[in-house]
């Protein structure tokens, strides 16, 4: 299978031709058209070529909640969003806290064939925060787990967190923390502030996130481990991460598309589509998260794609589940909020949505390498983006099984046109390719 991408702009730079064959990038520039032969030609005029996107933070719900998402449906959503690899969080049922479950998820991903699905292993047994799960067994399994997280739950016990940070050093793993002090957030429904006071919804204070982030960077420093902070949502957390990096602490941090774009004002209609954890914060927090992403304090954009069934959202706010889908809108949101505003270049987008997440997840080498440079000899994981396309989000047309996107009706700039996984197109002309790779 050979594809000639004609006139594309790698990382938004000079236009050139790129030839993909046998799963790798075989030629760039004049060589590409010369060697193209019978390759399928894709007129990429004006399209930005990025290394295939890598999500460190996806909920695929399988096993257990196949009514909300499956590995297969989530893989299709990911491909449409320009992803070639996603990390599937461990809060499934059963929890991904054993080698058996992570291998199952890994195989389901390979069977679906649209993206590489890298399972995240639970830090603690059953996400209960009491006892370490068998991290080594998951690391040595066929799934080769390197990212460990109780996401959805905070590893709140400081001793357990310390042990996890230390233990994963043996296999170069990383603990990805969902920073939420549980006592300060009992029954919490939304960001604690002006809007929550008015709406009478129990508050989720910024300090409940920031106190854990502060503790964890100090723990990481003490034991000499790396730590990854998931979905940074407050100005204070950004400030703490910035401080920790200045001190040389091995911390990396993630921003979600929704914390880059939406505020707690959206709760005013009591529509649970805007209920998410950590909650939407204030405009000042959104600005701080954008600034942190722009200046490199925040390393990656992770979707926190959290599909939920209609019945889990079609109800009163307090009864609704936390979370929103994100795979199919992430690139558009980043493009609209960060690129169109001049705060990130396309090379920066490649860094925060592909190269760095692949490096943090330790998937930048080996037979399933992602986040590699667009260079001859590298795996042909490529995403083509039309940087000026304006489009309106329509959740009813999403490939995800679930419809809980907060962006229905929102107009975005920048759209994924094609995605190639090891040279095979999973998305062409903005639509899934017919072929299912069994």
């Amino acid at each position: 299978m050979r594809h000639l991408l004609r006139g594309v702009a790698p990382l938004g730079g000079e236009r050139t031709d790129v030839l993909l064959a046998d799963g790798v990038i075989v030629a760039i520039g004049a060589d590409a058209s010369r060697e193209a032969g019978s390759a399928t030609v894709l007129d990429g005029d004006g399209l930005v070529a990025l290394p295939g996107l890598v999500d460190l933070h996806t909920h695929l719900r399988e096993p257990g909640r196949e009514d909300a998402e499956t590995v297969a449906s989530g893989s299709r959503a990911a491909a449409l969003g320009g992803y070639t690899a996603v990390h599937a969080m461990a809060n499934t049922s059963p929890v991904a806290d054993t080698a058996g479950v992570v291998e199952q998820v890994w195989r389901l991903g390979q069977d679906a064939g649209r993206v590489d699905v890298f399972p995240v292993g639970a830090v603690s047994v059953g996400l209960r925060g009491e006892q370490l799960a068998e991290l080594g067994a998951m690391a040595q399994s066929a799934a080769r787990v390197r990212v460990f997280s109780d996401d959805g739950m905070c590893v709140h016990d400081p001793v357990l967190m310390r042990r996890a940070l230390e233990y994963v050093k043996a296999f170069d793993g990383v603990v990805a923390q969902h920073a939420q002090e549980p006592r300060l957030t009992q029954g919490a429904q939304m960001h604690e502030g002006i809007v929550s006071a008015e709406l009478g919804l129990a508050g989720w204070p910024a300090v409940a996130e920031e106190s854990i982030v502060a503790r964890d960077v100090l723990l990481a420093q003490h034991v000499g481990s790396r730590v990854h902070v998931l979905h940074v949502s407050t100005a204070g957390s950004v400030e703490i991460v910035r401080w920790a990096k200045a001190r040389g602490i091995a911390v990396t941090a993630e921003a979600t598309p929704h914390h880059l774009s939406l505020t707690d004002e959206r709760a005013r209609g009591y529509d649970p589509l805007f209920k998410v954890n950590p909650p939407l914060r204030t405009a000042e927090d959104v600005e701080a998260v954008r600034a942190g992403l722009a200046d490199g304090t925040i390393d990656v954009v992770g979707t926190d794609h959290a599909p939920h069934t209609r019945e889990d959202k079609d109800c009163e706010w307090a009864a609704a589940a936390f979370g929103m889908t994100g795979l199919e809108t992430a690139l558009g949101i980043v493009s609209t909020t960060m690129v169109a505003t001049g705060r990130l270049t396309w090379a920066d987008v490649a860094r925060v949505m592909s190269t760095t997440p692949a490096r943090i997840g330790r998937v930048a080498s080996g037979p399933h390498a992602h986040g590699r440079p667009l260079a001859v000899g590298e795996p042909a994981n490529v995403t083509l983006v039309d940087p000026t396309a304006r489009w309106t989000v329509d959740p009813s047309r999403h490939a995800s099984t679930s419809r809980n996107s907060p962006y229905g009706g929102t107009e975005l700039t920048g759209r994924v046109i094609a995605t190639f996984l090891r040279g095979r197109p999973t998305v062409l002309d903005g639509a899934l390719t017919e072929e299912e790779h069994a």
């Binding site: 502030g193 002006i194 006071a197 009478g200 919804l201 079609d314 109800c315 009163e316 307090a318 009864a319």
Partner: protein
């Protein structure tokens, strides 16, 4: 007025109009035959997900005195957990042809969802949602304040006037109180000055932007000479003594000492000041028997005014708007 979800949705003109309409309704209630034919053939559903006999019978009396058919639907405990969902309940009421739904729910925003999620066409009247709003309570409180402090020989109910220049103190658990939120909105819309009085633990983060003052000291506020003092009920589960680290104050005794309306504080209030309480009272905790039973307490009258105000709101929601439409 399509729905009544929040006191914050009422502008000055609408609020005065509701109070004036309530005064008309109140007049009819001193007649021997209290029943009016106004809402004959209309169906009002009292949908109560939370126990509140007092509020329910107040709405029931109001609807019946306007000749509406009343259906009481008690769904206690069935929401938030997975019983029949709010949506299915709404679809059921829609199928039954409810014209108005009076809803009390433990989840803030549930009436808002009923009104706006497209499940139901009926007018939705919020009878108290979580810690958010209880607009008819605020209306009956303003009605009571206006009657006592703005009534004249000619207009005993103060018809046509607002509450400009009056100072109202609201004392107690503001954090969890829909009554406090509703009253801050409506009293200030009507021109009154409001001071919230509570221990700092019971003032919501974010209340600093509300159009009112906040004090942590009841004695200072009493000495400032408010025209009305509204005492809020303190929920048992918020108290100290066995409540552990999450209690909002150290003990009931300390609360009473700092924030209770006792005989001593009552005596220091201006002569014309009235004492209010939305009920049910914890006598001896937030209010002493001396205060509750004193001549300046208008607590029982608040209950009577509640029926007139709810008649007015049902009338304006069902008779008024539909005729225009």
């Amino acid at each position: 007025m399509r729905h009544l979800l929040s006191a914050a949705d009422l502008d000055h003109t609408t609020a005065v109009h509701i109070l004036d309409t309530a005064a008309e309704m109140a007049k009819t209630q001193s007649r021997e035959i209290k029943k009016l034919p106004t809402l004959r053939g209309r169906t009002v559903v009292n949908l109560f997900f939370e126990d509140s006999t007092r509020t329910r019978i107040s709405f029931e009396a109001a609807a019946k005195r306007l000749s509406a058919d009343v259906i009481n639907f008690s769904a206690k405990g069935s929401s938030v957990s997975k019983g029949e969902s709010l949506k299915d309940t709404a679809l059921t009421l829609q199928a039954m042809g409810a014209d108005a739904v009076v809803v009390r729910h433990q989840a803030s925003g549930a009436p808002h969802r009923l009104a706006n999620a497209g499940w139901l066409e009926a007018a939705v009247l919020n009878a108290g949602d979580g810690t958010h709003q209880h607009p008819t309570q605020a209306l009956l409180d303003s009605f009571t304040v206006r009657r006592h402090l703005r009534g004249t020989d000619v207009e005993p109910d103060g018809v046509g006037s607002d509450l400009a220049g009056l100072h109202v103190a609201i004392v107690g658990d503001v954090l969890h109180s829909r009554v406090a939120r509703s009253n801050v909105d409506l009293l200030t819309t009507l021109g009154a000055r409001v001071t919230l009085v509570a221990p700092p633990t019971l003032v919501p983060v974010g209340a600093e932007t509300w159009p009112c003052e906040v004090s942590y000291h009841l004695d200072e506020v009493v000495d400032a000479g408010p025209d009305a003092v509204m005492m809020l009920r303190v929920q048992r589960e918020r108290m100290g003594g066995g409540g552990g680290a999450t209690s909002f104050f150290p003990s009931p005794l300390e609360y009473t000492r700092q924030y209770g309306l006792d005989a001593r504080r009552l005596a220091r209030l201006p002569e014309h000041a009235i004492v209010m309480h939305p009920g049910p009272m914890n006598r001896g905790l937030e209010i002493s028997a001396d205060a509750a039973d004193s001549p300046r307490a208008v607590i029982v009258e608040q209950v009577a005014n509640g029926v007139a105000v709810r008649m007015a709101v049902l009338y304006l929601l069902l008779a008024g708007e539909r005729e225009k439409a």
